[in-house]
């Protein structure tokens, strides 16, 4: 009964000052510089002379309440009772005395979390929901990330890369994971399989037709029922029709593959922000450990680590050495699929004699 229901308090986004460490409140907008005393630790110094050490650590991201309480217990005992989460789901504790840093690190590591992820490290992989909770995923997210972080953990704990490396994963071509220096994204390779018995009752057909980026879907009568059909020559297998019309199943145990993209960089530092570019596809979607995808990521990281100059992100490095060299050093095949044919594709063609020999 509506009259018995509680009305929500529409307070919106909460005030964060109540949740900030007192040193952060006191020095808000008054920080002078920072140093990086060791991997996983930052030291910020304010104009007032106040010092604040941050210890960053990686977790499994999907936290059970036991793990969450383990994190808060560390915060209570070793870090003044404050916790911040980074946008890549790392945990950050802060302390105002240098002597508290080492005991805090020991407590974090003792509880099984991983200190690192600062500066020129491989940061925690940013990931999405996957099979655990999404309604349209082509793969899992937590499992892919766990598998890769197991292999990249030393690069998270140390700062041996030329610059920071952001890796992302996405479980469909909507790409919720975002842009990354390296992105591992689902790439479907076959058009949707349509259950024509269900389309009329489940899908709003004009909406589905409008959703297709290449106008490959049209209304049709199939077996006497109103349904939809796909022009498979035009279909780019993006899966955009699947969310509004689940009977157009795009996921497939074999034909849903992974593709790997590199060079996405959100920062304005040096060059303008860049989008990631395709480098590898047809990578098997292979649970529970996805070894083929991890091997390619590690290969790219190895060449970047050896070949890039200090402060070059992956896009900066490739800009300097050129794409032919990138494919040469990584051993990845260059195919007709690497040549773009989408809107604006001409801008990606080489209209010059700038060629490295």
């Amino acid at each position: 009964m509506a009259q018995d229901m509680r009305h929500p308090i529409e307070s919106g986004c909460p005030d964060g000052f109540q949740y900030m460490h007192p040193s952060m409140r006191r020095n808000y907008g008054q920080w002078k510089y920072h140093e990086h005393p060791r991997p996983g630790v930052l030291l910020h110094v304010a104009h007032s002379g106040d010092k604040l050490w941050t210890v960053k650590c990686g977790t499994q991201r999907i936290l059970d309440v036991f793990t969450l309480r383990k994190l808060t217990e560390i915060g209570d005992k070793f870090a003044d009772g404050y916790i911040r989460f980074t946008i890549r789901s790392n945990v950050e504790y802060v302390v105002t005395e240098e002597a508290k840093v080492q005991p805090l690190i020991e407590a974090i590591e003792g509880a099984g979390f991983i200190v690192g992820g600062t500066a020129n490290s491989v940061a925690m992989i940013s990931h999405t929901q996957g099979w655990l909770h999404c309604d349209i995923p082509g793969t899992d997210a937590s499992g892919v990330v766990k598998s890769m972080m197991d292999e990249l953990i030393d690069e998270f704990k140390n700062c041996n890369m030329p610059n920071r490396v952001h890796i992302t994963t996405s479980c469909c071509q909507i790409n919720c994971g975002g842009q990354g220096d390296i992105a591992i994204n689902v790439q479907h390779t076959k058009p949707p399989k349509i259950n024509h018995d269900l389309v009329a009752n489940v899908c709003e057909r004009p909406t589905v037709v409008a959703r297709c980026p290449v106008a490959a879907i049209r209304p049709a009568m199939v077996n006497g029922k109103p349904s939809l059909e796909v022009d498979e020559k035009k279909c780019i297998c993006c899966g955009a029709c699947f969310p509004p019309c689940p009977p157009m199943q795009i996921n497939d145990a074999e034909d849903t593959k992974l593709a790997i993209w590199v060079g996405g960089n959100h920062s304005n530092a040096r060059s303008k922000p860049t989008f990631q570019k395709l480098v590898a596809a047809g990578v098997p979607n292979n649970p529970p450990r996805w070894p083929e995808a991890t091997a390619i990521v590690k290969r790219i990281l190895k060449e970047y680590k050896e070949g890039a100059k200090d402060w070059e992100r992956i896009n900066d490095w490739i800009d300097r050495i050129g794409w032919p060299r990138f494919f040469e050093v990584t051993g990845l095949p260059f195919t007709k699929y690497h040549i773009d044919n989408w809107t604006g594709a001409r801008n990606s063609l080489n209209a010059s004699t700038h060629i490295r020999f």
Binding site: C13, P14, M20, I114
Partner: protein, 419 residues
């Protein structure tokens, strides 16, 4: 829980090995050790379904319609398609809850949220999802309401889901970063809390996201991931502490500064002098942040701070990835009137978007379809050369309004000169 009812998870078990913390071990603790049988059974069932996904390489959740009383969005409904085999997790909805800008918490507050969540939900939570919400993953339709009622009483609100204004995000910001040129907290809360109604009651063509970064390093990915990106910057001279420049050179050497600072400047606006001082041609500095990142102690943003606003960033579907475009090259954000102007601009843009975008079309896609000039005229913003990388290359355009447009430019210039 009765051991015979435990679903075997041979593939997921593999993910308990290795040095990185395992989410599977976390799920199993909830299944085996949590005192509440409801949680043991729910998580057992969930693990069974996830294992089934691993075996068959398919997802088995479908959406639906679930919300709390008074709202239309904020919940991600999930109903299992394999509920017969895994009935205890047949309803497994996520609540999206808005965090404070910059994701700050006290341990007490996190514990309180954990208490509420294990009372009403699965006890599994993520800080945070890609839109920026706390994701309380897994509860039933009834308990969705109970959990929301409980946490709403102590200050927490649902985020956006569906075609609405979404939960906003900010970087760590002025609370702990010397590069911050903005009050990210104030900006985020002024913006998103003006549109609370549009957050909770989805009625826009599609989603609309605000993201705020304190400086052009854009740690929040706002250009690439938000319809309305606010980025702190400054317009006076960057600060150079020449003593610290010398100290940096003493520690690292001149070559390091040449190789990693001056020659990396995208506009070649820095000169390293023979006496180890550094000159900056501030009129050509594009505030890229590289030199400030490298020589953090010696170089700092100036004092005349404000923000740049870019509109229209988004990810792939439908027309491909788009970055935001500069719509406001610089605006001050000091006074209440300044903030009012910012909120007014956001209102104009959301109104224009609501009236002119097609169904399921993002702001950037709408601008791509109608052209930036039509968008600017629609929201009442004058053109500015900072909005383009270069002027038009194509001569295919009708320009018989040239004289009036040129006159407008000169008028604006003289108004600006008059102050």
């Amino acid at each position: 829980m009765d051991k015979s009812k435990i679903h075997p998870t041979p593939m997921l078990d593999v993910l308990e090995d290795g040095p990185w913390p395992s989410f599977v071990s976390g799920f199993k603790r909830m299944r085996d050790e949590h005192p509440d049988a409801r949680i043991n059974e729910t998580i057992n069932s969930l693990l069974g379904q996830l294992e089934h996904s691993y075996e068959t390489r398919k997802g088995y959740w479908k959406g639906g319609t679930v919300s709390v009383f008074g709202y239309g969005g904020g919940i991600i409904p999930r109903f299992s398609e394999v509920a017969k085999a895994f009935p205890e997790s047949k309803e497994f909805h996520t609540l999206r809850v808005q965090p404070a800008p910059g994701n700050y918490y006290t341990t007490d507050m996190l514990n309180q949220l954990a208490d509420s969540w294990e009372k009403w939900g699965s006890g599994m939570v993520t800080f945070h999802g890609q839109t920026g919400n706390i994701m309380f993953i897994g509860t039933t339709t009834d308990n969705t309401q109970h959990f929301f009622d409980e946490i709403n009483e102590y200050g927490w609100e649902l985020g956006g889901a569906g075609p609405c204004v979404r939960t906003a995000m900010s970087c760590v910001g002025a609370a702990r970063c010397e590069q911050s040129c903005a009050n990210e907290h104030g900006i985020q809360r002024h913006l998103v809390n003006t549109f609370t109604d549009d957050v909770h009651r989805p009625a826009l063509p599609y989603k609309f996201k605000f993201k705020i970064s304190g400086c052009p390093n854009d740690c929040q990915n706002s250009i690439e991931r938000s319809d309305f990106s606010v980025i702190g910057t400054w317009r006076d001279e960057m600060k150079v502490d020449q003593a610290e420049v010398k100290a940096f050179i003493d520690a690292k050497g001149r070559d390091y500064v040449i190789d990693n600072v001056t020659t990396r400047c995208p506009t070649n606006c820095m000169t390293l002098n023979d006496d180890n001082t550094l000159d900056v041609d501030n009129g050509n500095c594009v505030r890229c942040m590289h030199c400030l990142n490298v020589m953090n102690k010696a170089l700092s943003p100036g004092d005349d701070k404000g923000v740049t606003i870019l509109i229209g960033g988004k990810r792939t579907l439908k027309i491909g990835d788009l970055m935001g475009t500069v719509v406001v090259p610089f605006m001050k954000l000091d006074t209440a009137e300044d903030y009012e102007k910012l909120v007014d601009l956001a209102s104009e843009i959301i109104d224009f978007f609501a009236e002119n975008a097609l169904e399921h079309e993002r702001t950037g896609e709408m601008i791509e379809r109608i052209g930036l000039v039509n968008f600017l005229e629609g929201v009442g913003v004058e053109v500015d050369p900072n909005m383009v990388s270069s002027p038009r290359q194509s001569s295919y355009v009708r320009m018989d309004g040239w004289d009036e447009e040129a006159e407008k430019w000169f008028e604006r210039q003289s108004e600006k000169a008059a102050g």
